[in-house]
Point group: C2
Chain length 327, copies 2
């Protein structure tokens, strides 16, 4: 069974780990792995060049989480991280002082940048980098081209998404998001194959605007999703009118979408009306939203969405796959 997931970073990473855990349990391969083929199409529009290094935050969040090498307490980056190199860079006035580059993380960035400069595509680089970690999950960049999300704030000032997100904590009201390079970006062949070949497609509870929205904006991805034989089930990143993690509300507000599970579902749209979704999981607290969502021709189901630990994440994956199976 091929399970394809569209995902952003930290929130999506937990979901992907839950999917893997569920499949370890229900489709074990007898060697601690799974017979299922899990593929994740990952947003790369938060990527950037910083101090001459290519940083890929969403790919790394998923990789480290699946590798068990992530810092659960801090919520991002590597476990046992240190910042000796960063202190040196700051002393030389290089980089962004507000954007932490951990030592262990820098190892990944240097390796990746070196491979990119050797002429490998990002897809090839990700395959090499992830090989170290034995993830049982294929990570696939949405595109091998460089796409960069910039944020337009009051006064028309434009800044890199990371500056808005990390330095300003998304507190400067965003007026618009601009994905530089998106029009000419080519969907990675592996991403298109993952969508076309999938038995089921899941949309992780990631930022609907700058993560999932950007993946959908890569030319060819929407068409591939429309043509896919698999059912497409999404998981709401909103519970009871609030974001589960991150600052997606600031992004939704900027594009005129309410921060509710219903509004995000309607924003994605029903597949049979040219939108994305066949099914949509909302939290039990949002069970009352089901009729409104279903009136828009999206099958809705209310289940516990909080991923507190591996078990609750795996159960959420089971629910998502169960909903897809029922359609």
């Amino acid at each position: 069974m091929i399970v394809t997931i569209l995902s952003g970073g930290v929130g999506g990473a937990r979901f992907v780990r839950g999917v893997r855990e569920h499949l370890y349990r229900v489709a074990p391969d007898g060697n601690g792995g799974t017979t299922a083929d899990i593929r994740v199409v990952v947003n790369t529009s938060d990527d950037m060049w910083l101090a001459g290094l290519r940083i890929t935050p969403d790919l790394d969040s998923i990789m480290y989480t699946l590798a068990g090498a992530n810092d659960e307490v801090r919520g991002w980056g590597r476990l046992g991280e240190s910042e000796r190199v960063s202190a040196e860079l700051a002393a030389y006035g290089v980089g962004w002082p507000w954007f932490t580059l951990g030592d262990l993380d820098l190892g990944t960035h240097i390796a990746r940048s070196s491979m990119l400069r050797d002429g490998l595509t990002l897809s090839e680089v990700v395959a090499r980098i992830t090989a170290r970690w034995q993830l049982d999950v294929a990570l696939i960049p949405m595109t091998d081209d460089e796409v960069e999300t910039h944020v337009v704030v009051e006064g028309g000032t434009e800044m890199h998404f990371q500056e808005w997100w990390t330095k300003h904590r998304a507190k400067l009201p965003a007026q618009d998001f601009v994905q530089h390079g998106i029009e000419s970006a080519v969907a990675s062949p592996a991403a298109l194959a993952a969508i076309a070949d999938a038995d089921v497609i899941l949309i992780a509870p990631s930022n609907p605007v700058v993560s999932i929205g950007t993946i959908l904006a890569v030319p060819g991805i929407r068409e591939a999703l429309a043509d896919a034989e698999a059912k497409i089930v999404g998981v709401s990143p909103i519970i009871s009118g609030a974001v589960v993690r991150g600052m997606a509300d600031a992004c939704l507000t900027a594009i005129g979408v309410e921060t509710t599970a219903t509004a995000v579902a309607l924003h994605y749209g029903a597949r049979e009306e040219g939108g994305l979704l066949d099914g949509w999981l909302v939290d039990e607290q949002d069970a009352a939203s089901q009729p409104r969502i279903e009136s828009a021709r999206i099958t809705a189901s209310a289940v516990p969405l909080w991923m507190r630990d591996l078990d609750t994440s795996a159960q959420l994956a089971a629910d998502a796959l169960g909903l897809a199976d029922s359609l």
Copy 2:
């Protein structure tokens, strides 16, 4: 007074530190510095791109030594160094496992590489990087162009100097040294000015072949030295038939020069016969070689050459400057 020194890495670094210390003492500026203008033209042909980073071993050895940030015990690199990033790179199969990139050192490499990619010349980069350390010494790359020393070993196999030096500890008999890029390299303007403007020029006890020899091979440098008004005094890197540090003997043997203070002096040649040297310092143990050297029209003086500490290094600098002054 402008004191210009031609230097390689570790051995040269100690000598440069001695020169600075001597000038702190005899030409103090009242603020802990010196009124003298010390400029070091540094070999850059051991430089290389590794894992997408530009590494400049000789420039860094001098910088760290003058900054007091060098590891005296190990003999190279930064004091208090760690290797967390290197371990990650090794896990990804990137870089040379036998070439250590310390975490603190990597901060310098990343900063430098970032500036180079921003379009700065190496001279500009070195000025920015060294500004942090308040060296009281100007470090000047011999050229802003990329020159790479390769070593030809038995069977005609060619390898980067670092591979021969660091991986093979110079134990593979060298047949030849090839400086890739040297013919088209342009001497850095600051190097030419440092030579032309100097009141005295010193040749550090660095490797006569791959350090000093390569500086001399940069088009324009020999002509500038010939035209310089200053006297040129060199310090022998050989004491009693053995190298003081490093593996210069393996390099000298490859080019057919004996490992003696006399042979190196004759290899450099007398300035008045189209060579490099007006004066040459040998160790007291090699006092008997003076007549032979002087017969070649190079004024020789025998003094203690061992730089055991700052005081002996400063005394050696005083002796070198004294010899130049006497010519």
